[in-house]
C-alpha cells in the first residue's frame, strides 16, 4: 500500500526486508507518518491540532476502558459507582477527571482543527473527502460525548438525556413511538442508561476507524498549507519525519501542560454542579444546560420560537440544529472560490472572523437562561450562522476579488534567498 506522492520505501536491514515482503507495515508507517511522506514546509502551529485530536481520542479510549472496569451501568448503582471510583479506586479520581476533562480537551482541539480548515480552505478540492469524513467524525464525537455525559446519572445527565432524546418526539406523527423505542421506556431509565453505555463504548472505535479513512483520504492529495497553493516540487516540502514529528512533539507538550492545569487544578470548572446530585426524575433543575461544547448548537435549537411556514417551532429548532452541522457537508460546493487560503481572500477573511465571533456569541447564549435579552441575541446570532454558510459564502465566492497568490510555497518562504544546508545528522530533506 502506498500513497501517490510518497517516497519509495527501501528496507535495508534483512529483517525489515523480510517483514516488508510479508506485511508491508513498515512501508505504511514510513509513507504515512515517516520520512517518506513529504509535507508542505510552511505549516504553522494550527496544523498541530489533527495530531492532538488523535491523542485526545487515545486518552479517552485508554481512561474509558479502565473506568468501565469499575462502572456499574444501572440507574440505581451508576452514581454511587462513579463516586466509588472517585474515592476508593486507586488513582480513580485521576482516571475520572482525566476522562471528564479529556472530553473538553478533545472538543477544544477539534474546534480549532475545524476552524483551521475553514480559514485555509482545507475543505476545498481536492480535499473534499477529507472534510466530509471530518464532519462524520465530529457527528460521532457529539453522539459519544452526549451519551458519556449521561453515564454518571447525575441531574444534568438525566435531564440532558430527557431533552436530547425529546428531539425525536418532534418528528410528526411517528415521533412519540420512535422516542419511546429509542429510550426503551417513556423516560430515561435503566434501559436507556444501558444502551447509552454500550454505544458510548462502541462509538470511539468507530471514530478511530473513520479517522483512519480521514488520514488515508488526506494522504491522497497531501496536506493543505497556509498559502493554499499546491505543492509544485520537492523544494516546497519537508519529510514528515523528523520535521513534523519534532514540531508535533512540542505541540503535544503544550497540549499536555494545558490539559494538566485543567485536570489537576480546575477539574470541575467546565462541568455543572448539578451533576453531583443524583438523577431525580421528580425534580427538574432550574436551568437545563448541556456541556460547553454543545452550547452553540443548544442556542440554535432554542432560537426558533415561532411556528413558521406550517412547521412548528420545536421541529424548526430540531431541524435547524441538525442542519447547522449537516450543512458543513455541502460547504465544499457552496464555496466555489478557486482560492483556498483566507490570507488571499479579503472578503472571506472578514466573514470568517465574524463567524468565529458569531459562534462564540451562540455559545454564550446557549449557556444563558432562555430569557431576554439572550433569546433575541440568540435569534440574531443563529440567523447569522445560517446566513454565513448559505447566503454569504456562496456570494463571496462569486464576487470576491482575490489577492495574487505566490507562485509556490518555497517562493513564499524563501523570498528568492538560497536554501541553507540541512543540519548534521538529519540528512538532506530531498
Amino acid at each position: 500500500m502506498s500513497f501517490p506522492w510518497a517516497e519509495n520505501y527501501e528496507p535495508k536491514h534483512p529483517l525489515t526486508k523480510w517483514i516488508d515482503a510479508k506485511l508491508p507495515l513498515p512501508r505504511l508507517v514510513y509513507n504515512a507518518v515517516g520520512a517518506g511522506y513529504p509535507v508542505p514546509r510552511n505549516l504553522n502551529y494550527f496544523w498541530n491540532f489533527g495530531v492532538l485530536a488523535g491523542l485526545a481520542l487515545t486518552f479517552q479510549i485508554v481512561t474509558g476502558i479502565v473506568l468501565a472496569m469499575h462502572y456499574a451501568s444501572t440507574a440505581d448503582g451508576a452514581f454511587a459507582s462513579v463516586e466509588s471510583i472517585m474515592r476508593d479506586v486507586n488513582g480513580g479520581w485521576f482516571l475520572r477527571y482525566m476522562h471528564m476533562n479529556g472530553a473538553s480537551m478533545f472538543f477544544i482541539v477539534v474546534y480549532i482543527h475545524i476552524f483551521r480548515g475553514l480559514f485555509y480552505g482545507s475543505y476545498k478540492a481536492p480535499r473534499e473527502m477529507v472534510w466530509l469524513l471530518g464532519v462524520v467524525i465530529f457527528l460521532l464525537m457529539m453522539a459519544t460525548a452526549f451519551m458519556g455525559y449521561v453515564l454518571p446519572w447525575g441531574q444534568m445527565s438525566f435531564w440532558g438525556a430527557q431533552v436530547i432524546t425529546g428531539f425525536f418526539s418532534a418528528i410528526p406523527i411517528v415521533g412519540d413511538p420512535i422516542h419511546t423505542w429509542l429510550l426503551g421506556g417513556f423516560a430515561p431509565d435503566n434501559a436507556a442508561l444501558n444502551r447509552f453505555f454500550s454505544l458510548h463504548y462502541l462509538l470511539p472505535f468507530v471514530i478511530a476507524g473513520v479517522i483512519v479513512l480521514h488520514i488515508w483520504a488526506l494522504h491522497i492529495p497531501g496536506s493543505n498549507n497556509p498559502t493554499g497553493v499546491d505543492v509544485k516540487g520537492p523544494q516546497d516540502t519537508v519529510p514528515f519525519h523528523p520535521y513534523y514529528t519534532a514540531k508535533d512533539g512540542f505541540g503535544v507538550g503544550v497540549f499536555l501542560v494545558v490539559f494538566s492545569i485543567l485536570l489537576f487544578f480546575y477539574p470541575n470548572t467546565l462541568g455543572h454542579p448539578d451533576n453531583y446530585i443524583q438523577a431525580n426524575p421528580l425534580s427538574t433543575p432550574a436551568h437545563i444546560v448541556p456541556e460547553w461544547y454543545f452550547w452553540p448548537f443548544y442556542a440554535i435549537l432554542r432560537a426558533f420560537t415561532v411556528n413558521w411556514l406550517w412547521i412548528p417551532a420545536k421541529l424548526w429548532g430540531v431541524i435547524a440544529m441538525f442542519s447547522s452541522i449537516l450543512l458543513l457537508f455541502f460547504l465544499p460546493w457552496l464555496d466555489n472560490s478557486p482560492v483556498r487560503s483566507a490570507n488571499y481572500r479579503p472578503a472571506y477573511r472578514i466573514a470568517f472572523w465574524v463567524l468565529v465571533l458569531d459562534v462564540l456569541v451562540l455559545g454564550w447564549i446557549g449557556k444563558s437562561p432562555a430569557e431576554e435579552p439572550y433569546v433575541r441575541i440568540g435569534q440574531f446570532a443563529a440567523a447569522y450562522y445560517f446566513a454565513h454558510f448559505l447566503l454569504i459564502v456562496p456570494i463571496i465566492a462569486i464576487v470576491e476579488k482575490t489577492k495574487p497568490l505566490p507562485n509556490s510555497i518555497s517562493e513564499s518562504v524563501l523570498h528568492g534567498e538560497a536554501e541553507e544546508a540541512a543540519p548534521i545528522g538529519v540528512g538532506s530533506a530531498h
Binding site: R41, N42, A80, E83, M86, R87, W93, F94, V238, P242, Y243, A246, K247, G249, F250, G253, L256, V257, S260, I261, L263, F264, F265, N268, P273, D274, Y276, I277, A286, A303, F304, T305, V306, W308, L309, A313, W316, A320, S323, F330, L334, N336, E372, R376, Q379, F380, A382, A383, F386, A387, L390, L391, P394, I398, V413, L414, E417, E419, A422, P423
Partner: protein, 275 residues
C-alpha cells in the same frame, strides 16, 4: 443553480429566525428572587489555589459540627468512618466514633433473621438520620434535607456558598416587602438571600457562639463553626484534593521540562530550514 438552492434554504432558516426576532415579547415582571439574591461571600480556605491543603484541625472541628448539629437531619452516605483517619483521627478514635454514633446501622438478627440494628464499625458509611425520604420529609415540614456527601461540589460556589448560606440568615429587608408585597417569606420557611429562591426550609443551624464545644479549644463562634463545617464538607466531597494538587505540581514540573526539551529539538531540527 446550487447558489440558488442554498439561498432558498438559507432564506428559510433566516426568515424563521428574523420573524421570531421581531416578535413582541411578553413583559417579564422582575422577581424578588432575581433582585435580592446575593452571590457567595468572599472567604479564604486553606485548600484554595493550586498549592492548597486541608487544615486537619479545621476538618476535625468541622466534623464535630457535622456530628453534633448537621447530622441530626442530613445524611452523608458516601463517607465511611474509616475515611476519618485521613483527617487525623487515630484507628481507636475512629472505632469509638463509629460505635458511639447516634443512629445504629440496620442489620439482621443472625438467630431469627429479623430486622434489627447494630453499632456502627469503621467500615460502615455514616448512618442516615432517617430511614427513608418519606420519613425525612415527614419530620421536616415536607422539605428534604439533602445528602451532604457531595454538597460542596453540587452547588455553585461550593464551600463559599455553604459558608455564606449558614451565616446569611437575616430578617426580610423592608425594601423587598415594599417592592414585592407578595414575596413575604411563608411561615415555616426562613429568609436567606444566598438561597436561590430566598426562602429556605432549613432553620438557622448555627445560632449561638459555643453551640459546639471544640475539643481543641478553638473559640466556637458562629463564624468559626460555619467556616469549619464548610471546609469539612469540601473534604467530604473531594477527599483526594491534596493528592490531586500534589500530583499536579509534579506533573507540571515534568511536563514543562519535557516541553522545553521538545521545543529545543524542534528548533534544532528546523534550524536551517526556512518556513
Amino acid at each position: 443553480m446550487r447558489v440558488l438552492i442554498s439561498w432558498i434554504v438559507g432564506l428559510g432558516f433566516v426568515s424563521a429566525l428574523l420573524v421570531a426576532f421581531f416578535m413582541p415579547r411578553e413583559k417579564v415582571e422582575p422577581t424578588a428572587a432575581v433582585e435580592f439574591h446575593k452571590e457567595a461571600k468572599e472567604v479564604h480556605f486553606s485548600f484554595d489555589g493550586p498549592f492548597g491543603k486541608y487544615d486537619r484541625q479545621q476538618l476535625q472541628r468541622g466534623f464535630q459540627v457535622y456530628q453534633e448539629v448537621c447530622s441530626a437531619c442530613h445524611s452523608m452516605k458516601l463517607v465511611a468512618f474509616r475515611d476519618l483517619e485521613e483527617i487525623g483521627f487515630s484507628k481507636p478514635e475512629v472505632k469509638a466514633l463509629a460505635s458511639q454514633w447516634k443512629t445504629e446501622v440496620p442489620a439482621i438478627n443472625p438467630d431469627t433473621g429479623e430486622a434489627t440494628t447494630r453499632k456502627a464499625i469503621p467500615s460502615d458509611y455514616f448512618p442516615a438520620p432517617y430511614a427513608n425520604e418519606t420519613a425525612a420529609r415527614a419530620a421536616n415540614n415536607n422539605a428534604l434535607p439533602p445528602d451532604m456527601s457531595l454538597l460542596a461540589k453540587a452547588r455553585e460556589g461550593g464551600p463559599h456558598y455553604i459558608y455564606s448560606l449558614i451565616t446569611g440568615y437575616q430578617d426580610q429587608p423592608a425594601e423587598l416587602l415594599k417592592k414585592f408585597p407578595d414575596a413575604k417569606t411563608p411561615t415555616g420557611l426562613h429568609y436567606n438571600p444566598y438561597f436561590a429562591n430566598l426562602n429556605i426550609a432549613m432553620p438557622p443551624p448555627l445560632v449561638a457562639d459555643g453551640q459546639v464545644t471544640y475539643a481543641d479549644g478553638t473559640p466556637a463562634t458562629v463564624d468559626q463553626m460555619s467556616k469549619d463545617v464548610s471546609a469539612f464538607l469540601m473534604w467530604a466531597a473531594e477527599p483526594k484534593l491534596e493528592n490531586r494538587h500534589r500530583w499536579g505540581i509534579a506533573v507540571l514540573i515534568y511536563l514543562l521540562i519535557a516541553t522545553g526539551l521538545a521545543y529545543g529539538a524542534y528548533r534544532n531540527i528546523w534550524r536551517d530550514k526556512k518556513h
